[in-house]
Symmetry: C2
Subunit: 392 residues, 2 copies
């Protein structure tokens, strides 16, 4: 086990009706709140009205900025920063999924950043300060409700970069699974692929003697696999959503990666798809993850046997480990298929024309400083291209 | 799944050498620190010297209060409160195990409490404020390094009560498993029984649809069972200690009980043993837990089958569930025995004379307001007496 530093201070308020106390929760911590959200779904569901009423009961009228899109855009972040400065906002309340939250976090640090906040993403600069961010989650997927991470798309540069800082850990996150009832099937499936990937990125490691986090990863993965099909089949299944929603938070609050070298190759490869083609992050991950597994498993046979046996329930002779691994990967693909997720880049509308460009961007080769990606196996641009090509 | 409110802000710094940065970590948060510890073990191990040096490099000389005993005493807490007030201490650094930490938490809230801090324990009063507490853990067991809980013994009244508040969550906890190397076998075993009990108290529940926390509980229990014998056999086994130590923190930081009704009957029954006979908490739990299981399992056969199968690895026909449960309990007893833990009250030096008194104290009957204890099955004093008597 490696040394680690675990810090996950976000308070999680979970269950029916919890959203009604948002105003009261914010009363002691904020004078002026920016309400930040996406499209019309929170108005359709009635959540917008509940939040505004709860805020107004406890505080002065607040500032609003809607319009966050999936793969949240830098341009709206810039707009939010100006608005917060002009209106002296002292807390951002994001209502929505990972996009609204990540956009809120970008605004929160941009308010104090001297320069274009994109530099923080591009250069990985350490920040000193950010506005506090609180959250009402309506899409379980990104895990951003518990993490200090944010991913933003610079649409003019066609770049999608992530950034993390303890200063971006949310103050609190409210999660009432009833607000997941209206999610369309593809969003449910994409969310599930995203949260599973957050675990895979931590689970697949060369670090040994990490039995606790191994088994925690396996527990959360199995909980998702056991419950996600029920939520997809009946999106008003409260109990299934409780399991999936809570799993999504635990998947990405940091705990599962403690003491382990993490991987993150699949996330890096996927960010290129989203940046150039604006595909849904989870859909891209569903295509790339099994392809990545097939490409790298020979580098750590024992780890992938453990995955196949402990997560995918494969039984068989440990003396034929590759057969066990292949069955494990096949079962994962089958699970993704059952969830309605794509298996090829062409299903995502991605042709061959830019595969090499994306491979070079993902690994830094395009910018003349190839760093390689991945912890379990370091991938160069040729590796990434081979993975893209294996799922054309 | 029940609604829940999860809040676990304690930062955990884990691994070799982490203790050396304690002064630097405290520099921005405290002007005057009370160093609070037990007997001579931290001086023998050299940790005392490292801590004092790290503090002095970064800050003015600090205040010290040693002498914390197992089942930490109210009298020393009173002394600590006076000292903190007199010296204007603004942070308490506990170096030791659960006793030093719980004593530090009691002092931390006592400084701001108007009256005898024992009232907080006795009456369960909500506190508004406490001094911040930071921790260097030298005994993995109590989980107090991540929790907002404290247990104190009022030696003049022969009472041992617990109390919890979010204000008592530690600022940070440093855990270097190398400091566990010198623990004697009985302390290792007692610590293991204590952390397992923290999971059992959350795991055994009548709440259904809690698949995620069920499987997280099982993962942590199995990690402890898999690694504790190795730490006992060779207390210098760093990797085994990493698994056991980290498990002890996860066992009690709150996560595993989220969305579930919890039990806590065993802890309540054990506190009476410690209060009257000053026995080690973990040893008492090792005696009482299997006895409690035998006494209550008929109230939730499915839960105990799940325990036997998923935790203790029992295989068999689910159509003869009681045979599976009995084998599960037998395996737990066998594990405790392998760890060198006692199986009867007489091994703890407890005779029959006060069993009824303890049963009545545990359930409140002695004080004329019987409240009963336990979530899975509510126990009255006759139930508790029957459990005590079953392991005379």
């Amino acid at each position: 086990m490696l040394n680690f530093d675990f810090y996950s201070p976000a308070r999680i308020l979970f269950g029916k009706g919890e959203e009604k106390q948002v105003g009261e929760l914010l009363k002691p911590c904020a004078k002026k709140v920016l309400l930040h959200y996406g499209g019309g779904s929170i108005k359709k569901s009635g959540l917008y009205h509940i939040v505004v009423e709860s805020l107004h009961k406890n505080k002065d009228p607040d500032v609003e900025l809607g319009g966050v899109k999936p793969n949240p855009r830098l341009s709206l972040v810039h707009e939010g920063i100006e608005l917060c400065k002009k209106e002296n906002v002292d807390l951002i309340l994001a209502v929505g999924g990972g996009s609204a939250i990540d956009s809120a976090k970008a605004i929160a640090m941009g308010v104090y950043y001297d320069g274009d906040v994109w530099e923080v993403y591009e250069q990985g600069k350490a920040i000193e300060k950010a506005l506090p961010v609180a959250i009402i989650l309506t899409i379980p997927a990104a895990g951003s409700e518990g993490s200090g991470d944010t991913v933003i798309t610079n649409e003019s540069k066609q770049l999608k970069y992530g950034y993390g800082s303890p200063h971006l850990r949310p103050l609190f996150s409210i999660m009432n699974p009833e607000y997941f009832y209206t999610l369309p099937p593809n969003q449910i499936a994409n969310g599930v692929a995203d949260m599973m990937s957050h675990i895979f990125e931590r689970y697949f490691t060369n670090t040994i003697n990490v039995g606790l986090t191994d088994s925690l990863c396996e527990a959360v993965l199995k909980t998702i696999i056991n419950n996600a099909p029920a939520a997809l089949a009946n999106p008003k299944n409260y109990e299934a959503w409780c399991e999936v929603g809570f799993s999504g938070t635990v998947a990405h609050n940091g705990l599962l990666g403690m003491g382990r070298q993490e991987d993150w190759a699949c996330h890096n490869m996927e960010h290129e798809l989203s940046a150039l083609y604006d595909v849904a992050h989870g859909a891209g991950l569903a295509v790339l993850t099994p392809a990545w597994m097939k490409y790298v498993y020979k580098d750590n046979i024992q780890m992938f046997v453990q995955f196949a046996v402990n997560v995918m329930g494969v039984e068989g002779s440990f003396r034929e480990p590759e057969a066990i691994i292949e069955e494990g990967i096949a079962r994962l693909k089958s699970f993704f298929k059952r969830m309605g997720l794509p298996a090829t880049l062409s299903e995502l509308g991605i042709d061959e024309s830019k595969l090499e460009l994306m491979a070079k961007k993902a690994t830094g080769a395009e910018f003349g400083h190839e760093f390689g990606i991945g912890g379990l196996k370091k991938l160069n641009w040729q590796d990434v291209l081979a993975i893209y090509e294996s799922v054309k």
